[in-house]
């Protein structure tokens, strides 16, 4: 389609304006300055309310009292899955879910603009393991799994499968289909990549002496075989070196993959988790290849919202931060909650609690935390850009996931990729950029402090510079930029985290079996499946406990 003249002129003048601005601002060469006319703001996950936890003296004393059967603290995927499971197994239990954000979803948050919904965090679910009946049952209830073929394989709603073309990589100035580097990659590197992929494929099919898969999701179902578990003691980078993997291309691809799922590169990931990333994916479907993923314009918020919808009538209390947890009279637990809107506190008396909060929150709430768990959370930057221009480029056309080889960022998702329409209007589009910020495992607080101290303008300059490297000239056509900084992104499975003693200890119930923890921090691998099963585990423990007593 031809570029209309009006558009060309505005493009030219915007380009000029940014060149002028660059001169005026005297910015670093190669940096694309954020234009002041750009719309947008900087947000963060409940930073204000969340930080109240550190200053409990500022919170007013409770003036109300309430009574329920189960309080769920945290409305991320773990908390929502627990709520739905409680409703399924014991519909008579009265539940109350406290969420400090205005909306549930947690890391699976989403936003929307005039054109489309877009993800703020988690955005896809790979085809689940067909043995994961709990998850499949949920997906079926949500209408995402539409039935089973005679072969027994699940059939997924076609509109939720990532539409073709799914991924492209900007490599050597050309967009190639797929993210595994191929175009123009030397034969030796290609051979090494093939060797690695063959090795993880072998591991994917292998079962341990205990009859379990070596690697599986949820990860607690993986084989207990000690040789395999010992891989958790070593870093993935060391494992790669020990096995003779030196190719730059392979190393970049692996770093990219781990940063995308864990927020940190191979050097900070345990070899067990690094291999699990590839070898635990066992999804199959009747109507899609094994490497397909499920995704929606709002990302995994679509899943979170279905969990909420299927969770029964129990109340969801938004803008409510749990700031205390204590033993009450007659065997009850008291949860203290502060409502950020009414600015009042309430004492909630309950039989059981699900703490579906990240460890740094749970640690504060529990009267006597027993475990020495120290999850590493990399901070993340997510930017939603409204761009008045087509992000094309040489080679493969715009895909769902678009990544630049060698980039420190993780590329962007086209939020409208899953739109059901036959024509792509020549209109502004929404691109969601992901960036796991570098973290020093020895001092993760420093990265977080730096992240919180950076301004909207700082972040935007960073994102626009990256955009300009992917699509020269496009940065000048950004109309709006909404930014979100996650101070605590997701847990990184650092060496020793998954199979070390602290994780096992932390998941024991507290306060005499009345407080159950459920969060991906207790898995060590933060993906939807883990969060879902965290919720299920806590809910089942409560229901079993109730049946036993």
């Amino acid at each position: 389609m031809h570029l209309p003249r009006r558009q060309f002129l505005t493009q030219a003048s915007a380009g000029l304006a940014s060149t002028l601005l660059a001169g005026l601002l005297g910015s670093v060469p190669g940096c694309v300055p954020a234009r002041s006319a750009m719309r947008g703001q900087l947000r963060g996950a409940g930073a204000k309310l969340g930080h109240l936890l550190r200053e409990p003296h500022k919170i007013p004393a409770p003036t109300h009292t309430q009574e329920v059967d189960v309080v769920i603290v945290g409305g991320g995927v773990s908390g929502l899955a627990a709520r739905r499971e409680l409703h399924r197994l014991a519909p008579s239990l009265r539940t109350l879910l406290l969420e400090l954000e205005p909306e549930v979803g947690g890391n699976a948050a989403a936003g929307h603009n005039a054109r489309t919904a877009y993800p703020w965090g988690a955005h896809y679910l790979p085809l689940p393991d067909e043995r994961d009946h709990d998850l499949l049952a949920f997906l079926e209830e949500a209408g995402i799994l539409t039935g089973y073929a005679p072969s027994g394989l699940p059939i997924y709603d076609e509109t939720a499968l990532c539409h073709d073309p799914a991924e492209r990589l900007l490599l050597h100035g050309h967009w190639q289909p797929g993210l595994v580097p191929e175009a123009g990659v030397p034969a030796a590197d290609r051979a090494e990549i093939a060797r690695f992929l063959a090795e993880v494929e072998r591991l994917r099919r292998t079962t341990g002496p205990d009859g379990r898969d070596l690697f599986r999701l949820p990860l607690d179902l993986s084989s207990a075989n000690t040789t395999v578990r010992q891989l958790d003691q070593q870093s993935m980078a060391d494992w790669l070196a020990a096995h003779g993997y030196r190719s730059e291309y392979l190393r970049w691809y692996l770093d990219y993959s781990y940063r995308d799922d864990f927020g940190v590169p191979a050097a900070q990931v345990s070899a067990w988790a690094g291999l699990h990333y590839f070898a635990a994916r066992k999804g199959r479907a009747h109507n899609a290849p094994a490497d397909a993923v499920l995704t929606w314009p709002s990302g995994n918020h679509h899943l979170a919202d279905n969990l909420r919808r299927l969770g029964g009538p129990g109340r969801i209390w938004p803008n409510a931060v749990a700031f205390g947890l204590q033993e009450g009279a007659d065997g009850r637990v008291e949860v203290l909650a502060y409502d950020g809107v009414t600015q009042q506190s309430t004492r909630i008396r309950t039989r059981q609690v699900v703490l579906a909060t990240p460890w740094h929150v749970s640690k504060h709430l529990l009267p006597a935390p027993t475990a020495a768990l120290a999850p590493l959370h990399a901070p993340w930057l997510v930017a939603n850009l409204t761009v008045d221009g087509y992000p094309g480029g040489p080679g493969q056309p715009l895909c769902w996931d678009n990544v630049r080889y060698g980039s420190p960022a993780l590329g962007y998702i086209d939020a409208e990729h899953q739109a059901l329409r036959g024509f792509e209007p020549d209109e502004p589009r929404s691109l969601t950029f992901y960036w796991a910020l570098p973290t020093d495992p020895g001092n993760p607080a420093a990265a977080r402090r730096h992240a919180y101290a950076s301004t909207y303008h700082d972040w935007l300059t960073l994102v626009l510079t990256e955009l300009d490297l992917m699509h020269p000239g496009l940065a000048a056509r950004v109309q709006a930029a909404e930014l979100w900084v996650w101070g605590h992104g997701m847990v990184a499975p650092t060496p020793g985290y998954v199979w070390g003693p602290a994780r096992q200890q932390a998941r024991q119930p507290h306060l005499g079996g009345r407080v159950h923890l459920a969060h991906t921090d207790l898995s060590g691998v933060s993906v939807f499946e883990e969060a879902f099963h965290q919720g299920l585990r806590a809910a089942r423990a409560i229901v079993q406990g109730a049946a036993a007593s």
């Binding site: 076609e158 499968l161 073709d164 059901l420 329409r421 036959g422 024509f423 209007p425």
Partner: protein, 528 residues
């Protein structure tokens, strides 16, 4: 055409014979001007005639009416020349500048305003009349200027010799050189400039022009500049690239937010519509395409009342549907408002679609068909799917199992769907992929094809929501069809071995198999 030009000359001769005599110097130069202005005069007439037949079709009528108006106006001009007195040379210079501007602007104006004016014919004949009157003034005026310098006998002989030489030149170079090399717009502008140059040469060659030379030189320079700017602008009116891509003359072009619409015409009166450079129809044989799209389904469902048409904003499929009196409502969903507006308002296109888009039975919605279908709650007896070919990933979504499943839910029990499905000869895998995709979506598809000369062998898929038989002799066909008969419908189902069924993947949102097939198979033809 040849006859017309001869006629022109004869009428001119008569107009000139009655001119009075007056003195003037430098006869050779002025006689040379006669040849130039004669060439220009005839060219404007030819350009107007050709343009009218491109834009309005029916070349014989257009040519003779344009020539008639032109000649009549020349007569008027000759008659008016009697009112010009005083400094005749100054009048002549003014006249040449004016003829140059009006003649030069004629073609760009007609092209540029074709799509925008209410009545194109008023504009056309107004312009032709004005030009004719101005050209009609030229020879009488020149005769009067030369009168004193030459004997009457000599004068008439020389002036008309040069006049006819100029006309012959015009008649020869117009079809052989000018139209193919320059196109109508630039030819008009170029010869307009020649008229202005004649004014300039006359101005500089005669001493008597000295008092006003300065001012007139300025005017001449401005006129040349304006015509030169026109040449630059001409590219925009008649996109250079399109001039090369389309063999015929572009008579309408518009970039909408959705696509580029280009309508071309030629002297045979054939209209072609291109969407993003792909031929959508040729008026000469579109009836084959649209009859084959509509009648096999309609004759099988003689009681069909509610019809949905997806795509097809040209109203040509609707034209065929309206031949069935029992049809109560036709809902047409086309993305592009510019498309349906064009086919509702343009006279030529309304003649082609028999005004179908104005029928009270027709309801037009400009929307994305997929988005529309997902929120629609009506159920239809017959759905016609006339989308562009699956040449990109977006349009590819309109050929997937997901789309066909949505479509299936919009059918009444016993309803059926017809889909245009590219060429089974050129894109055999793409065609059968559509058939297999419909089968995988729960339809029982019946493949068929028709021969449309402009497209070649073209494929369709008729698909029923429930397994059933398709009877080529289901119900009566409307009278007056030019292609479809029960026997022809029967033949449409036979696939010779070079395009018979082959195994393919099923097209899904997550594999877009069809777009890949289509690209591979049409790629060598520079399409897709």
């Amino acid at each position: 055409m040849g006859e017309g030009s001869l006629l022109t000359r004869r009428r001119r001769a008569r107009a000139a014979a009655s001119a009075p005599a007056e003195g003037a110097p430098r006869p050779a130069l002025l006689l040379g001007s006669v040849a130039v202005i004669a060439t220009c005069g005839l060219l404007y007439e030819l350009i107007a005639g050709t343009l009218a037949s491109y834009l309005l079709g029916d070349s014989v009528t257009q040519f003779s009416t344009v020539i008639g108006v032109y000649l009549f106006s020349m007569g008027v001009g000759s008659w008016l020349s009697r009112y010009l007195g005083g400094q005749l040379l100054r009048w002549f210079i003014r006249l040449e500048i004016l003829v140059g501007l009006v003649g030069g602007a004629s073609a760009p104006l007609l092209f540029g305003l074709f799509a925008h004016v209410g009545s194109f014919r008023v504009l056309l004949y107004g312009l032709v009349g004005l030009l004719g009157a101005l050209v009609g003034l030229e020879i009488p005026l020149l005769l009067r200027i030369l009168q004193g310098r030459l004997a009457f006998k000599e004068l008439v002989a020389r002036v008309f010799t040069f006049d006819y030489v100029g006309s012959l030149l015009a008649a020869v170079i117009f079809p052989l050189v000018l139209v193919p090399r320059l196109g109508l717009v630039r030819t008009a502008l170029l010869f307009g400039a020649l008229n202005v140059v004649v004014a300039g040469v006359s101005l500089l060659s005669f001493d008597e022009t000295k008092p006003y030379r300065r001012r007139y030189l300025g005017a001449i320079a401005l006129a040349l500049l304006a015509l030169g700017a026109g040449v630059v602008g001409a590219e925009r009116i008649q996109r250079y690239a399109e001039g090369e891509v389309f063999q015929d003359t572009v008579i309408y072009a518009q970039s909408t937010p959705y696509q580029r619409l280009v309508l071309t015409g030629n002297h045979r009166g054939e209209l072609r519509l291109f969407l993003n450079g792909n031929l959508q129809f040729n008026s000469a044989d579109e009836y084959r395409y649209h009859e084959a799209l509509v009648h096999p389904a309609m004759q099988d469902r003689p009681r069909a009342r509610q019809i949905l048409v997806l795509g097809g904003g040209d109203g040509l499929a609707v034209r065929e549907l309206l031949k069935y009196p029992q049809v109560q409502r036709i809902r047409l969903i086309d993305l592009d408002p510019a498309m349906t507006k064009l086919f509702k308002s343009n006279q030529l296109l309304r003649e082609l679609n028999h005004n179908s888009l104005h029928s009270p039975k027709v309801e037009i919605h400009n929307a994305d068909a997929y988005a529309w279908l997902r929120q629609d709650t009506t159920r239809y007896d017959v759905v016609l799917v006339d989308f562009p070919d699956p040449g990109n990933y977006s349009i590819g979504k309109l050929y997937t199992t997901a789309f066909y499943q949505t479509l299936r839910q919009r059918l009444r029990p016993g309803g059926l769907v017809v889909v245009q499905a590219t060429s089974p000869y050129i894109a055999r895998r793409a065609y059968w992929c559509v058939v297999h995709t419909m089968a995988a979506s729960g339809f029982s598809p019946v493949p068929y094809h028709a021969y449309v000369p402009s497209f070649g062998e073209w494929g369709y898929v008729l698909a029923q929501a429930q397994p059933g038989t398709w009877r080529p002799d289901g119900g009566p066909l409307p009278a007056g069809l030019r292609y479809t008969t029960p026997k022809v419908i029967g033949q449409m189902r036979a696939f010779p071995p070079d395009m018979s069924e082959i195994p393919t993947d099923v097209n899904q949102l997550n594999n877009q198999a069809l777009v890949r097939y289509f690209e591979e198979e049409w790629g060598p033809y520079g399409n897709g």
